[in-house]
């Protein structure tokens, strides 16, 4: 049922989504937008895992499992990120990433 | 303790004592006393040197002391002097002592001021006695760094800008120097000992690369055209004693280093590139003089005049013969003394009139006779009047420069010689505007006359200027004796 699809085609989709996510990450200032971009990238990575597992090593299971882990970690990350965003919002009444510049030298 | 190291130890001790002194008057006295002892020791060094030369000691450096510092890197604390170094030590001692007296009336942070000043002096003394490149570079930095503090804290006008500019350019130069010194170290068999390096004969390719680096690196400090631009701003902002020491002594570190390190250690490249640098120096000579014509600020005038006179030093070095080298060293001393007095006098004038603009002054000969007369004498020395030290130095340089009949050399030489006219123009312009003529402001009618410490400071430096001018022979022979190895090195370089 999936024979006609080439590995490259799937990888291309994954790459494009990844770069779109990157693009969002570097252009947006809103922290939630950043989070969305990160999720996009994570998804594209998950796609990669799946496609390598399924198309190249169908007998194995690692890709599958790691996608699961990835989803778990992503969930954790989002939870944490949203906690941070909200606390930041409480402090500054803003979630503009450019205003978080306490890393500045 | 050998006598040369004493020259470094005494200022350090003085600084140490100064840390614990609270009373300002006491600080001054201790600083003066320390430097007085230093001067005495310098005279002893000179006497010992002359005595051992007289008794037939012909080794290149005398009173040497070698002490291994870092075995693994072959770094030594290696000191010793020859005639040139002795002459420079005398200059330093005199100018430093005079500088202490001239800044007698500094009120804020007196102690810190004297400490910085003496640290600077320590660096200079150490520099002149070092025979090990590493030690030399170390002392060089010790001398340059207090400069920034001295200008930044006790300066006037746009002092931060000036201090920054000065520091950046000097640090850039230091970086070049460091590269050059390391280059010398690696290409001469991993040694910092100057005598060994000189005999090791670095490969010509390395010399071609490192000679310009070392020469320009020191040249920046010696205000070699076109790297002189820090000097007018720096001098204009620096306090009096610092200008004195800086123009009088510190800039000589540049010229001395260019001679001792760049030329002596890399003679082949020096020979190859002499014409280029000679041209640069000749342009600097005439350029500095013309630059001084248009200035109205006394310190700027003097700074440009320094560019011109220091250009003559480089010019003399690049003429590549013994007479011109003698002239270059004499000019270092002569210019050091002259410019120190100049800056001292400018400081005194500024302290009274609160302006350094020559257009605003006038007729000061009537109200400040001592300062005005000394200014005139030094001005005359600066324009090469016979009987004063400038003449002796300049004539050596010119005669040396004319010993090469090559056309391009002749052109550069004539260019450099013609600076004597331009120098006369700007000196007399200042003398005419500032010292002569009617008094322009009512409040200048009764300015306070020079006080004792000012007189002492000015005369300390003025008298050697006259002494050298009237009886140059002892100094000339002191220098010329020591030039033999350098001349040897530079003339047998295979070119």
């Amino acid at each position: 049922m999936i024979e006609g699809i080439g590995v490259f085609d799937v990888l291309a989709v994954s790459t494009i989504i990844f770069f779109v996510g990157l693009f969002g990450f570097v252009t947006r200032k809103n922290m939630i937008s950043l989070l969305i971009s990160i999720e996009l990238m994570l998804n594209s990575v998950a796609l990669n895992f799946v496609v390598f597992n399924k198309f190249l090593y169908p007998g194995n299971i690692q890709g599958y499992i790691f996608t699961l882990f990835l989803i778990a970690v992503a969930a954790a990350e989002v939870a944490l990120a949203i906690a941070i965003i909200i606390s930041f919002y409480r402090m500054d009444n803003s979630i503009d990433a450019d205003e978080m510049d306490s890393l500045s030298g | 303790m050998d006598i040369l190291s004493l020259l470094v130890v005494i200022p350090m001790l003085t600084v140490f004592i100064l840390f614990f002194v609270k009373d300002m008057q006491m600080v001054r006295i201790i600083a003066a006393a320390g430097m007085f002892v230093e001067t005495i020791v310098t005279f002893f060094v000179t006497r010992n040197y002359v005595a051992s030369r007289g008794s037939g000691d012909t080794s290149e450096f005398l009173m040497t002391k070698d002490f291994t510092w870092f075995e693994s890197l072959n770094i030594h604390y290696f000191v010793g002097v020859d005639g040139i170094a002795v002459a420079m030590l005398l200059l330093t001692a005199i100018v430093l002592l005079a500088g202490i007296f001239i800044s007698w009336n500094i009120e804020d942070l007196t102690r810190e001021f004297y400490i910085s000043l003496i640290i600077l002096g320590t660096g200079v003394f150490g520099f002149f006695i070092s025979l090990d490149l590493f030690t030399m570079f170390l002392f060089y930095e010790v001398a340059v760094i207090p400069m920034y503090l001295l200008i930044g804290i006790w300066g006037t006008g746009p002092k931060e800008y000036a201090a920054m500019k000065l520091t950046l350019m000097l640090m850039g130069a230091s970086a070049m120097l460091l590269v050059a010194i390391l280059g010398i170290y690696y290409f001469s068999g991993q040694t910092f000992n100057m005598q060994e390096i000189a005999h090791a004969h670095m490969p010509i390719v390395a010399q071609r690369f490192f000679f310009p680096m070392a020469f320009v690196g020191f040249g920046v400090l010696g205000a070699l055209f076109p790297f002189h631009t820090w000097s007018p701003d720096g001098h204009a902002s620096a306090p009096t004693a610092v200008s004195m020491l800086h123009a009088g002594v510190l800039m000589k570190l540049g010229t001395y280093g260019a001679f001792r390190v760049a030329m002596y250690l890399m003679p082949d490249a020096a020979n190859e590139m002499s014409t280029f640098f000679m041209g640069l120096a000749a342009i600097g000579v005439i350029y500095g003089a013309f630059g001084a014509i248009r200035q109205t600020d006394l310190k700027y005038i003097n700074a440009y005049s320094s560019v011109s006179h220091l250009g003559l030093i480089f010019f003399g070095m690049m003429a590549l013969n013994k007479t011109a080298y003698t002239g270059a060293v004499l000019q270092m001393i002569s210019h050091g003394l002259m410019t120190a007095v100049f800056f001292a006098l400018i400081g005194m004038l500024y302290g009274r009139t609160h302006t350094r603009d020559v257009r605003k002054m006038g007729g000061l000969l009537k109200v400040l006779p001592f300062i005005a007369v000394v200014y005139m004498i030094i001005g005359m020395a600066s324009l090469g009047l016979p009987g004063l030290s400038g003449f002796v130095a300049e004539m050596h340089i010119f005669v040396g420069a004319f010993q090469n009949p090559d056309t391009i050399h002749r052109i550069f030489s004539i260019l450099a010689v013609s600076a004597i006219v331009v120098t006369a123009v700007y000196i007399l312009r200042v003398v005419g505007m500032m010292l002569m003529g009617p008094i322009k402001h009512q409040e200048f009618e009764d300015l306070p006359k020079a006080v004792w410490y000012e007189k002492v400071g000015a005369l300390l430096v003025l008298l050697p200027v006259m002494a050298i001018g009237l009886a140059p022979n002892w100094l000339v022979s002191l220098i010329q004796d020591s030039l033999a190895p350098i001349v040897e090195q530079l003339s047998h370089s295979g070119y």
């Binding site: 500045s104 | 500019k165 004539m395 420069a401």
Partner: protein, 645 residues
């Protein structure tokens, strides 16, 4: 004969200089004047003793007057062979100059005691005078060219100090500055000449330079510049130095302005001694000038002298300031001396020009000093330099009047006054050598008589002026020097000068050619006559004559605009054309370049700082960018991607 005592001629004024300079302020003013005068008197006597012993006791050795080194010490060693000596050289011209300098200096010292009376800087004045005297004396006894240069500069600076003596007067300050800078400019030529000689001749010593088998005369060097050999070039440059000091055209512009100084100074420095240093220099190196390149440089000397004398004489006729007239007259007379040297040969009759030149130097020093001191006496009485403020003074100042008249007659070449003898010899020498030069000088002789008597009549006759204070004769200290100089002016012409100073130093008897003498006296008398007609009585005749010359008169009165030309060069060319651009370049280009480096560094660090903004997005982007570049580089370098297809 031992001339060791000559050192005292130098030491005495030196001591006086130091003593009055350092302590003069603390002493009563009079003392410094008298000390200076006394020391100069002693020096003068010593100079006479030198002259007597040299000329009469040493006499001739092998038919020529010998050169004696009283002292010769190494002062500075450039190389083992190139040595800068200091010493005292005794030969005819140096002894002559010793006598001239000490005599005039002594009289000027004496005169100044009265003239400078009550001046604030009384002690300073005498101290400077002593400095000048010692410099000038050491200059004339120099044993080598570098010693001359040494003291050459020192007389320059004493001249500077004395011209600028009234230093609160801006005109005096600028005159002093001008004098120093113009002569300094000429000295540049001198110095380059010396330096060229130092290499090509390898010596500074006069004896070697002028000796037959010395480097200059023995070898023929190839021409390098305009047909001159390198020695010719060097000598020309040295002559430039001499021309500057001697105010030869076109380096003369400082001399008229130098009259801003006190009048005794003008008499000593700018009439009798320093300004003839150029002549002395040429005379000192005369065999070299004569021998190198077949005497080509001497043509330059002769023509410079001729042009200067004519030029100055024309201007002198139009000036109203009596000191300026005298200054131009000095320039004109020095032109005579230069010309005489220029037309001279070496031996016997051919060497007439040299002898005449030195003779004229001698006589001129006396009568020109007299003229200046006389003028000073007049100025002292009238408090003005301008001829329009004077007139009819013969009644008030008889001594000044008579002595001034004697000097005027002398300079006009009327026998038996001294000027006649020397000028006559010069004309004779010129006549034999070059008719054009002779014609010029002959004309100048007439002009000289005219302008000198113009001011004579203008001062002592002419209109009856009403004075605010009735002028009176000067005190004895001032009139005594006038009398002494007048006596000298009358009698020194009779000295058989050829017995003492000649080009080849052999004995030479002067013959006065009646034709020549008659002609020169004739033209002088014509000049005097014209002046008598025009200026004896106040009349409009003179104005009419000057109008006749129209534009030419205006040009001459404005000194042919030489000052303006110099002003143009100095200000437009040097200040605006060189110094201003240099200042601009320094500020904008050189410094701009250095600042540019600083700016780049700073901007770069600002950019870095910008990147170090703490903004995560930018960090991320930079990170991605860098990563992309690295990935690309790795891929490219490993050949995984390439652009060839």
């Amino acid at each position: 004969m031992d001339f060791k005592f000559t050192i005292w001629i130098l030491i005495l004024p030196t001591l006086v200089f130091l003593f009055t300079g350092l302590l003069g302020k603390k002493m009563p003013a009079k003392i410094s004047g008298w000390i200076g005068t006394a020391s100069m008197a002693t020096a003068m006597l010593l100079a006479y003793k030198t002259a007597y012993e040299y000329f009469f006791q040493v006499g001739f050795v092998d038919g020529i007057r010998p050169t004696i080194f009283a002292y010769k010490e190494v002062w500075m060693k450039f190389t083992d062979t190139l040595v800068f000596d200091m010493g005292i050289l005794i030969d005819p011209i140096s002894v002559l100059m010793l006598v001239v300098v000490t005599t005039v200096s002594f009289l000027v010292h004496l005169y100044s005691i009265g003239y400078m009376h009550g001046d604030q800087g009384y002690y300073k004045f005498f101290s400077f005078l002593s400095l000048f005297s010692v410099s000038m004396l050491a200059l004339v006894v120099a044993t080598n060219i570098f010693q001359i240069y040494f003291f050459w500069e020192l007389v320059g600076v004493s001249s500077y100090l004395l011209i600028g003596f009234y230093y609160d007067k801006p005109s005096a300050v600028s005159a002093a500055k001008k004098a120093f800078i113009v002569t300094r400019f000429a000295d540049l030529g001198f110095l380059i000449g010396i330096l060229l000689l130092s290499f090509h001749a390898g010596t500074f010593d006069f004896m070697t330079l002028v000796s037959e088998d010395g480097p200059l005369l023995a070898q023929t060097a190839p021409p390098v510049f305009m047909g001159l050999s390198i020695f010719g070039v060097a000598l020309s440059l040295i002559f430039v130095g001499g021309a500057g000091k001697s105010a030869m055209f076109p380096l003369h512009i400082w001399l008229p302005d130098a009259m801003e100084g006190p009048t005794p100074v003008s008499a000593l420095i700018h009439a009798a001694t320093m300004v003839v240093a150029g002549v002395y220099l040429v005379a000192r190196l005369f065999p070299a000038f004569q021998g190198v390149d077949g005497g080509a440089v001497l043509h330059l000397v002769a023509w410079t002298g001729a042009i200067s004398s004519l030029f100055a004489a024309i201007i002198a006729m139009t000036q109203d300031d009596i000191k300026r007239v005298l200054a131009y007259s000095t320039m004109s007379q020095i032109g005579y001396m230069m010309l005489a040297l220029g037309v001279s040969g070496m031996e016997g009759h051919h060497g007439l020009g040299y002898m005449a030149s030195m003779f004229h130097l001698f006589t001129h020093a006396m009568f020109k000093a007299l003229l200046f001191l006389g003028a000073g006496s007049v100025i002292h009485a009238v408090h003005s330099n301008l001829m329009k403020d004077m007139g009819g003074l013969r009644k008030y100042m008889p001594i000044t009047h008579i002595t001034f008249l004697i000097a005027c007659l002398a300079i006009s070449g009327v026998p038996p006054f001294s000027g006649f003898f020397s000028k006559d010899e010069i004309l004779a020498a010129a006549f034999e050598q070059n008719k054009i030069l002779f014609a010029i000088e002959y004309a100048v002789a007439g002009l000289t008589a005219f302008y000198m008597f113009r001011i004579y009549f203008g001062i002592f006759w002419g209109k009856e002026t009403v004075y605010k204070h009735t002028p009176h004769e000067s005190p004895l200290t001032m009139s005594l020097p006038l009398l002494i100089l007048a006596i000298a002016t009358v009698f020194i012409g009779f000295i058989p000068f050829g017995h003492f100073v000649t080009a080849d130093r052999a004995l030479y008897d002067i013959h006065i050619d009646p034709m020549m003498a008659g002609a020169s006296v004739g033209v002088g008398l014509i000049g005097i006559l014209v002046a008598y007609i025009l200026y004896k009585k106040e009349s409009t005749l003179a104005d009419g004559v000057s109008e006749m010359f129209g534009q030419g008169y205006t040009w001459a009165k404005d000194k042919f605009y030489m000052d303006e030309v110099y002003q143009f060069f100095a200000h437009k060319m040097m200040f605006a054309g060189v110094a201003a651009p240099v200042a601009w370049i320094d500020k904008n280009i050189v410094d701009g370049f250095m600042n540019g480096i600083g700016w780049i560094t700073e901007t770069f660090s600002m950019m870095l700082e910008d990147w170090q903004s703490g903004r995560v997005r930018q960090y991320a982007f930079s990170f991605i960018l860098g990563l992309l570049v690295i990935i690309f580089a790795v891929l490219y370098l490993n050949g995984i991607i390439d652009f060839k297809g």
